[in-house]
């Protein structure tokens, strides 16, 4: 209640942000404690009929207020926010523009904020707080180097980034495009990325347990 009403929060470290007070997580911790106590003592959870009725009434009233009639909720409070809560409307700070395929697009991560391009911005900003990092990902899942190249040339010419991070090779190895073709495409990509003075980081392809043609992946990486 204090966090919600008075904006009480704690400073986060090492970044100048507020500590995110998440009431749902605290409730979860309380429930874990109660469950541990009940199971350890092997006694039934003591229930007060009055408290139980009050809680159920509160839940029902909350449901009515939040869902049945929006007019019951004052403007701005329909989606409650808490001190330090990250806002989805905060613009993503953008120095490099990683082109790539599914991994760069965030496949496997639970949200775009958890994918490596967004995390990379956070990591650099944490280490170099005086630098504004502006990162954008330009990626299409399943794309080979030939398909990425056209977009890479266009985007670099348009954005003139300081740094290009290009993860390439996984889909080329899967499609078996051939080492000579792959080498030519990557060389064109290097030329395009550096033509406007950008630095370039090339990431080789990912190896994963179910690769069937490991030798092909090895050859693509060495190319």
């Amino acid at each position: 209640m204090a966090a919600r009403v008075f904006g009480v929060t704690l400073p986060a470290w090492p970044r100048e942000k507020a500590w995110f007070f998440n009431p749902c997580i605290w409730q979860f911790i309380f429930m874990l404690g109660i469950a541990a106590g009940v199971f350890r003592g092997r006694k039934p959870l003591p229930l007060s009929p009055v408290l139980l009725a009050s809680v159920l009434a509160f839940l029902l009233a909350s449901l009515v207020v939040s869902h049945a009639s929006r007019s019951l909720v004052p403007d701005g409070s329909a989606t409650p926010s808490f001190p330090g809560e990250p806002s989805s409307q905060t613009p993503l700070p953008m120095v490099s523009r990683p082109p790539g395929s599914s991994t760069t697009a965030g496949v496997g991560a639970c949200s775009p904020e958890a994918a490596y391009p967004a995390r990379l911005a956070e990591e650099i900003e944490t280490r170099l707080p005086t630098i504004d990092v502006d990162i954008g990902a330009s990626c299409v899942g399943g794309e080979t180097a030939a398909q990425t190249l056209e977009r890479l040339e266009r985007e670099v010419a348009r954005l003139k980034p300081d740094l290009v991070v290009w993860q390439v090779g996984t889909n080329d190895a899967l499609a078996d495009v051939g080492e000579d073709v792959f080498r030519t495409l990557v060389e064109r990509g290097i030329a395009a990325a550096t033509a406007h003075g950008a630095d370039l980081v090339l990431l080789d392809q990912q190896f994963y347990p179910t690769i069937r043609r490991n030798g092909l992946f090895e050859r693509t990486a060495s190319t």
Partner: protein, 44 residues
């Protein structure tokens, strides 16, 4: 790749980029460790 994999990849990539820039291997210039740490507090 999982959230943890993405976080690990971002951390290693950031380390590599900053290290390369500080070694002068890149066009981009980044503050040294001392500059990045900011002014030293007197502790009072």
């Amino acid at each position: 790749m999982s959230d943890r994999g993405h976080a690990c990849m971002a951390r290693r990539l950031a380390n590599g980029i900053i290290r390369a820039a500080r070694r002068g291997e890149m066009e981009a210039k980044v503050p040294s460790r001392r500059e990045a740490a900011g002014p030293v507090s007197a502790g009072l």
